[in-house]
């Protein structure tokens, strides 16, 4: 006698298995290919092991495993709930004496089974293979359990997302597309918002938001790194919670759903405007971002908004109405455009108060200032954010910040090559305030930046050597940056202490201007610490104490390029030299070019060469070009003079 209990019907399960079972089988075979088979292939062939690092079961063909995790659940949900999306089958199944809840549970339950059984079987197989192939040193039992948990939970979450979307839409293709869009949405909208706020909120640090792990908000992007980072416990709890929520939401929608919604784009009337305006907004923001970033002009930005909103609005309408002839109803588009325009105008008037907002001086606990968020983020990663804590510095930073706000017009629409100033305040109450401004290269903020940059506290933050315990240094290695093979190392304790003292004196004396102009370093200095860590810094020409110390200890000769290393030195007015040759790689042609010009000055006196060396920097576009020729022409360097630092004898020569 067939079962008459209303909550379980074997024949329905049979039907689902007959028609949709292949998805589960494909999943199983895919996992077999990606894991047990790959394990056999790798561990029976010793050569493999050397090529690939096995950290956990995900390490075997992770791309395929992850592809299966993303594609199979969506495919499964589409095929399972195809019956809701096709008119004939929808009518048939809903004419049967089975309540919608029971019907839904049968289909969802079978879907869960298709996603669970293959994983369990593979998990057991991996357990067995682990002992048979003796790969216990690569994979621990715990890692197999973690793999099983993730490979079970994550696709299940994707599956329930797809089921949920399937209840909203009436078309299978749309179900697939919308599921992936939904899974990308959290990251996508944050990226779009960050880029677009940048255009309207003076001081908004989009980079800060884009570096704050924004990619982990999208399950698709989050899962892409399972190989290196297992799902965290909070994430697992969140996924589980969302599965429950999605299940009940889907069931509720399914019960509310009209059967005749089969094959219409949106099953619920209320969803249609949300979909249309949502798509219009997202495409608008995307086009704004595209044209804003590539063209960097307000005109193009507005063009992007208009084009994007039109495309999004009418595109979404075309999907909903399943025809491309939707241009008759433009009234609502005008409402949409009007309200967006109004919001943009409100932003111009800073209605949120975002642009004018600065923290109260008394509330600031500490502040980070730098050229980009990356400096902040990197220092944070090392566990030592480079915050300024001294009240005087905080006051100076705040003054700078306020100036930037008041001079909005000057700093707002800079071009891409401008400098950035990044502020990160941490307040006494634990809140944060992040701002970022772009300032033109030749800005007039020097008087505000100078006191901050020249302060001991700031220097200690950016030069770790200043606060380092010098007794921990085992060795100092100096190697020349010029194309000559020169280097010194200091290993004697006393010499280490003395040289560090000299260096520190130079760093403390460094002016703001010198700090900004790091356009030529003689050599790189590497400090080897007794905990095997290394510190690097550059030896700038203005480090006089250090140079003097090296000279006194007869190390200067080997520590940097000197006049003796140079075979020839040529100086020519930039206008006389073929610019293309300066960037070419042919040394001979370049030397020939310099030799052939009458205006060229050849410097031969060692002392004069030394003066040129001291005042040269890496090329920009100064009036004169210097050509250093090393070792009989094997290598050359093109240089510029440091601003206003051309030696007199050269000046005299060219003024003649």
């Amino acid at each position: 006698m067939p079962s008459k209990t209303s909550w379980f019907n074997k024949e329905i399960c049979m039907q689902i298995f007959r028609n949709m079972g292949w998805v589960g089988i494909v999943y199983f075979l895919g996992l077999v290919f990606a894991l047990p088979l790959k394990m056999l292939m790798m561990h029976t062939n010793d050569e493999y092991i050397y090529y690939q690092e096995i950290k956990n079961p995900f390490s075997y063909l992770f791309e395929i495993q992850y592809g299966l995790m993303l594609i199979i659940p969506v495919l499964l949900a589409i095929f399972l709930f195809l019956y809701v999306h096709l008119k004939d089958s929808a009518d048939f199944l809903h004419s049967l004496p089975i309540s919608r809840k029971v019907l839904f549970n049968h289909y969802v339950g079978m879907g869960v089974a298709f996603l669970t059984i293959p994983v369990l079987v593979i998990s057991c197989t991996v357990f067995i293979l682990r002992s048979v192939l003796d790969v216990g040193m690569f994979i621990s039992i715990e890692e197999i359990l973690i793999w099983t948990g993730i490979t079970w939970l994550f696709p299940l979450f994707i599956f329930f997302c797809a089921v949920f979307v399937g209840m909203i839409t009436g078309m299978a293709i749309l179900q697939g597309v919308l599921t992936y869009l939904l899974l990308l949405f959290p990251t996508g909208i944050l990226v779009l918002a960050a880029f677009n706020f940048k255009y309207f909120l003076h001081g908004f640090s989009y980079e800060y938001y884009l570096t704050s792990k924004v990619e982990t908000y999208s399950p698709i992007l989050y899962g892409a790194s399972f190989e290196n980072r297992a799902m965290s416990v909070p994430a697992a709890l969140l996924f589980s919670g969302l599965i429950v929520v999605l299940y009940f939401a889907s069931l509720w929608l399914y019960k509310k759903r009209h059967i005749e919604a089969a094959s219409s784009a949106m099953a619920f009337r209320a969803i249609k405007p949300i979909f249309i305006y949502g798509v219009a907004l997202c495409v608008m923001l995307f086009c704004g971002m595209y044209f804003g970033e590539t063209q960097n002009s307000t005109g193009w930005l507005i063009f992007g908004y208009i084009a994007g909103s039109l495309l999004g609005y009418f595109g979404a309408k075309m999907i909903i109405e399943k025809t491309w002839r939707v241009f008759g109803e433009y009234k609502r588009y005008l409402y949409f455009a009007g309200s967006v325009g109004l919001v943009l105008v409100l932003f111009q008037f800073d209605f949120t108060g975002f642009e004018k907002k600065t923290p109260e001086f008394s509330e600031i606990k500490q502040v980070y200032i730098g050229n980009s968020v990356y400096g902040y983020a990197n220092s944070d990663e090392l566990g030592q954010a480079k915050y300024l804590k001294k009240r005087e510095n905080i006051q100076n930073v705040l003054a700078l910040h306020k100036t930037l706000i008041n001079e909005e017009g000057k700093t707002r629409k800079g071009n891409r090559y401008d400098d950035n100033l990044f502020f990160f305040y941490e307040l006494e109450n634990g809140k944060r305030l992040v701002r970022q401004y772009s300032v033109p290269k030749n800005h007039s903020l020097t008087h505000l930046l100078k006191p901050v940059y020249e302060s001991t506290e700031y220097k200690e933050l950016i030069y770790p050597i200043l606060s380092l315990d010098e007794t921990k240094i085992d060795k100092i290695a100096i190697s020349s940056n010029a194309p000559v093979n020169k280097g010194t190392s200091i290993t004697e304790q006393k010499q280490i202490l003395d040289s560090i003292a000299a260096l520190r004196e130079d760093l403390r004396a460094e002016t703001y201007e010198e700090m900004m102009d790091k356009s030529r370093a003689y050599s790189s200095i590497e400090l080897l610490l007794n905990n095997d860590k290394r510190l690097y810094m550059e030896w700038m020409p203005d480090y006089e104490n250090f140079e003097r110390w090296l000279k006194q200890n007869n190390m200067l000769e080997n520590s940097r390029v000197t006049a003796d290393d140079l075979y020839q030195v040529w100086i020519a007015p930039r206008k006389d030299i073929d610019q293309n040759l300066l960037h070419a790689y042919s040394n001979d042609e370049l030397i020939k070019e310099f030799k052939s010009k009458e205006s060229v000055l050849k410097v031969e006196d060692k002392q004069e060469i030394e003066m040129v060396l001291e005042n040269s920097k890496w090329p920009s576009d100064g009036e004169y070009v210097i050509l250093f020729v090393y070792e009989k022409g094997n290598s050359v360097e093109v240089m510029d003079f440091i601003h206003n630092k051309m030696p007199d004898f050269i000046m005299d020569y060219f003024e003649k």
């Binding site: 008459k4 019907n9 024949e11 329905i12 007959r18 089958s89 004419s95 004496p97 089975i98 059967i259």
Partner: protein, 299 residues
């Protein structure tokens, strides 16, 4: 048995069913007639519990049908294109039905093999349209429903099978008081089995009639008078239509046979014949009276 009270349904923006009142008694065969787009299918799907009406009540045995599992166990809905699971044979489909419908009669299913000539173990989707429809009937009759709802059921069936199915249906109605609701766009297709008909036009019921009453109430009469009566003679009787061919009048009259006879005899007719009227003619006259041209339902 089946009862619609002011049922209303909007379907893809159209008012497919507007305030329909309908009553089908137990053990009767009700023909729902209407041209394409009249709302027949929508109404049937509401009665079958597939769609939910937006307003009004749809009751079977006094209880609402929608999501009523116990009630739906006794209802079979046959859509205009029968649906079967892909890859299913008649046998596996029958297993499915037997697990779903508690009154499934396996003996009857086996016996019906003599009537329908379908291979049981061949995949149903390989059959022709007519064969699939036969399979659907086979399954429906084996499920022993109390209510059978059919949407254009005889399309694509040959006359022999049509006859057999009609016989089976009438037999079930007679033996176990099955209630049948059939939709059709063609009166002739159903006039031989229906005892009641309703005409659905643009979402509402124009007319609902007992066919026997209808047949006995409308008469076609050929009459000629020796002495022509006064102009107003036909105004005293309910004459639906009349025309004169020479001295002979041709009238369609509503009323009981005897009353009609005695009325005409007052005028001493030279010729008086009562001619049989086809159902189709009755409808045309009836509808003409209501003022609608719906001939296309009836051809």
């Amino acid at each position: 048995m089946i009862e619609c009270k002011e049922a209303y349904k909007k379907y893809e923006g159209n008012e497919a069913v507007q305030s329909v009142d309908l009553l089908v008694k137990q053990g009767s065969i009700y023909g729902l007639l209407g041209s394409n787009g009249a709302g027949k299918t929508t109404l049937l799907k509401i009665v079958a519990g597939i769609l939910k009406q937006d307003k009004g009540d749809v009751l079977i045995d006094g209880t609402p049908v929608f999501e009523n599992v116990d009630m739906k166990k006794k209802i079979i809905f046959l859509p205009d294109t029968p649906y079967f699971f892909s890859q299913y044979t008649l046998r596996t489909m029958a297993n499915f039905y037997s697990s779903i419908y508690p009154d499934w009669n396996e003996d009857r299913f086996q016996n019906l093999q003599g009537i329908f000539e379908i291979e049981m173990d061949k995949k149903l989707h390989k059959f022709s349209k007519g064969m699939r429809r036969q399979a659907a009937f086979w399954l429906a009759f084996s499920a022993m429903p109390d209510v059978l709802i059919m949407d254009e059921p005889f399309d694509g069936l040959d006359p022999v099978i049509r006859k057999k199915i009609k016989n089976l249906m009438v037999q079930d109605v007679a033996e176990r008081e099955m209630t049948v609701l059939i939709s059709s766009h063609n009166l002739r297709e159903v006039e031989d089995i229906c005892d009641h008909v309703g005409i659905l036009h643009k979402g509402s019921v124009l007319l609902e009639k007992d066919l026997d009453d209808l047949k006995s109430d409308v008469h076609k009469i050929q009459v000629a008078f020796k002495n022509e009566p006064r102009e107003e003679w036909h105004q005293e009787m309910k004459i639906l239509q009349y025309e004169r061919r020479g001295s002979v009048w041709l009238c369609v009259v509503r009323g009981k046979e005897l009353e009609v006879k005695s009325y005409f005899e007052k005028y001493n007719p030279v010729i008086f014949d009562m001619l049989p009227l086809t159902l189709e003619e009755i409808f045309i006259y009836e509808m003409g009276e209501v003022g609608y041209a719906i001939e296309n339902i009836l051809v």
